[in-house]
């Protein structure tokens, strides 16, 4: 559906995108995640043909996008884009949603039908006569989504559609996107700085950091097996313990970290500088030292407990900082308090080793 080859883009001397290669299949939801300023918006603007890349090629549906204004318009009419802070036209909600159809010269009755359907889908039935500029942020975003969907684009580009919204509106928009994706064979390319959102919505995701596509793959892979420290940091691997491989016996390595030793699986050789990444949810806590199959067990003092939703995030001082994520219920049952001494264990297979 969409293919990108060696895409470069600079504004003046600032290189925003570097050598991006990307392929998105028809019907796929591809989510680009990356911190603010990593080039996500620029990438979408290039793919939405709002700007021309400094160099590189974009193929849409097998056709190379060239510089002819006519071809660009033709292709642009097969896609739609929703920006992070959508602008609405100074007109009614109806007129806003109808815009794309009007410029495609859709006839009145079918246009009305489509607009009404789109408004119903986004939950804004009855809003058609409202001035679009008086809507709240969430409503505006829904109008923008309806306005893009009503065109029935083959490719829908969403640039951080929930970046400026409250949690309720965010989950509403996410639900809508999921529904739309299910109902149609629309290809969706979305960007977000919210890695969990990426995980919830993506079939495949790409991590864009500093203008480079660092890793692409299915979300689980990106989250559990980040290929570099930067990615690991971004995808929220909270426990990244820097150390040196002290021994490697048939793939089982001992990593020396601040006096402690972590056992893990890796094919890296002795002496390599590495990071042992442990996801907080991989760590189990116990009051007493129990015998378990988990190869790694450290005693530490609880320095902080933060509750959020059904979960409790527990920070431990084991000589190095370790963060564990357990359910609130189990924290209550164990009666965990700051200052308590507990044992934190995780399996050797729960450690993901990346080169430092």
């Amino acid at each position: 559906m969409l293919k990108v080859e060696r895409l470069h883009h600079s504004y003046g001397k600032a290189e925003i995108l570097k050598n991006i290669d990307l392929g998105v299949e028809r019907g796929e939801v591809f989510v680009t995640i990356g911190p603010t300023g990593s080039g996500k918006t620029t990438l979408l603007r290039l793919l939405g043909l709002l700007e021309r890349p400094t160099s590189g090629h974009i193929y849409f549906d097998g056709h190379l996008v060239n510089n002819s204004e006519r071809q660009r318009l033709e292709i642009r009419r097969r896609m739609a884009m929703v920006s992070q802070k959508p602008a609405v036209f100074n007109a009614s909600v109806f007129e806003n949603v109808a815009y794309g159809l009007k410029i495609r010269k859709e006839n009145g009755a079918s246009m009305r039908n489509k607009v009404m359907n789109a408004l119903e889908t986004v939950g804004l039935s009855g809003y058609e006569r409202r001035d679009a500029r008086t809507l709240s942020g969430g409503e505006t975003q829904r109008v923008a989504l309806a306005r893009a969907m009503v065109i029935e684009p083959e490719l829908l580009l969403l640039d951080e559609p929930t970046a400026n919204l409250d949690p309720v509106s965010t989950s509403h928009i996410e639900k809508l996107v999921t529904e739309v994706i299910k109902k149609s064979d629309m290809t969706v390319l979305m960007s977000t700085h919210d890695m969990y959102q990426g995980q919830r919505l993506a079939h495949r995701m790409g991590v864009l950091i500093g203008g480079e596509m660092m890793q692409t793959g299915d979300p689980r892979e990106v989250f559990s097996l980040p290929q570099s420290r930067k990615i690991a940091e971004f995808v929220g691997v909270e426990n990244m313990l820097g150390g040196v491989i002290a021994s490697n016996e048939e793939g089982i390595v001992d990593i020396k970290i601040d006096g402690a030793v972590v056992e893990a699986i890796s094919n890296l050789g002795v002496g390599e500088q590495v990071y042992a990444c442990v996801r907080p949810e991989e760590i189990t806590l116990a009051r007493t030292k129990e015998s378990t199959s988990a190869r790694n067990s450290f005693s530490g003092e609880i320095t902080r407990i933060v509750l959020f939703g059904p979960l409790a995030r527990i920070e431990l001082d084991c000589g190095f900082l370790l963060v564990a994520l357990i359910t609130k219920r189990s924290a209550e049952e164990m009666n965990l308090q700051t200052g308590n001494r507990v044992y934190a264990s995780f399996k050797a297979t729960g450690v993901h080793v990346i080169k430092g």
Binding site: M81, A87, R112
Partner: protein, 241 residues
């Protein structure tokens, strides 16, 4: 003091009894000024768009020059038009000197900078995101420009009205190229200046009132449009289909 009061009464009488002189001149004035405003709007709003939406060398300089021309003296424009259209001038063969036509041409030239300049400011008041949104929803170049123009509609209308205000109230150009010929090129401003010179204060006053009234109507309308812009909310139109 007495004479002025008398003249005032007479003036009011002339207005309300439908004095043919007063109304003839008013009609001619409106005819000429409205023509020049409509022609000016049709020429200069698109020209303003062209300048705003294209990037070229010297664009800033051009805009500065246009803004400087807001206060172009009417007699100077009159002089230029005179030189061009007088018998010996380059366009003298048309023989339209001292006709309403040449007055319209002169007024179009006069209001040009204002309409172009204010159209440009009107367009720059619209967020660039509007045009991008239009383009991302599949608008062609022309459609996207039209969309931005529609967003700026009230400010553009104001630009046109300011142009009308300048056209109807100027006297130097009308006098120089129109010649103030009775029943032909005589307009409110030229009539006032002539009648006052002749001592016909009542007629001058009556004409002056009408001129002020017209200016007032234009201002009120312009303001209403601006207010509509703010209060567009309540009256957002019913879906058209």
């Amino acid at each position: 003091m007495h004479a002025i009061a008398d003249a005032f009464v007479l003036a009011v009488k002339m207005i309300f009894t439908g004095d043919p002189d007063v109304y003839g001149i008013t009609a001619r004035t409106l005819e000429i000024s409205l023509s020049s405003t409509v022609i000016g709007a049709l020429l200069f709003v698109p020209l303003g768009c062209l300048i705003y939406f294209n990037n070229f060398r010297g664009k800033r300089l051009l805009i500065s020059i246009i803004q400087t021309c807001y206060s172009l003296p009417t007699v100077f424009v009159g002089l230029l038009v005179f030189l061009v259209f007088s018998r010996a001038g380059p366009l003298g063969i048309f023989g339209i000197m001292f006709t309403p036509q040449v007055m319209v041409i002169g007024q179009v030239v006069l209001i040009g900078p204002i309409v172009i300049g204010l159209t440009i400011s009107a367009l720059s008041g619209v967020s660039p995101a509007i045009r991008e949104t239009a383009i991302s929803l599949g608008a062609s170049r022309f459609q996207s420009v039209w969309t931005v123009l529609k967003e700026a509609r009230f400010a553009v209308l104001t630009a046109v009205m300011v142009g009308f205000g300048r056209a109807i109230s100027e006297v130097g150009l009308a006098l120089m190229v129109g010649g103030n010929i009775r029943g032909y090129t005589r307009v409110l401003t030229t009539a006032i200046s002539l009648e006052t010179g002749k001592g016909e204060v009542a007629l001058s006053l009556a004409l002056g009132f009408i001129l002020v009234a017209l200016a007032l109507i234009v201002t009120v309308l312009a303001n209403r449009f601006l207010k509509v812009k703010e209060a567009d909310v309540a009256q957002s139109r019913a879906p058209t289909s």
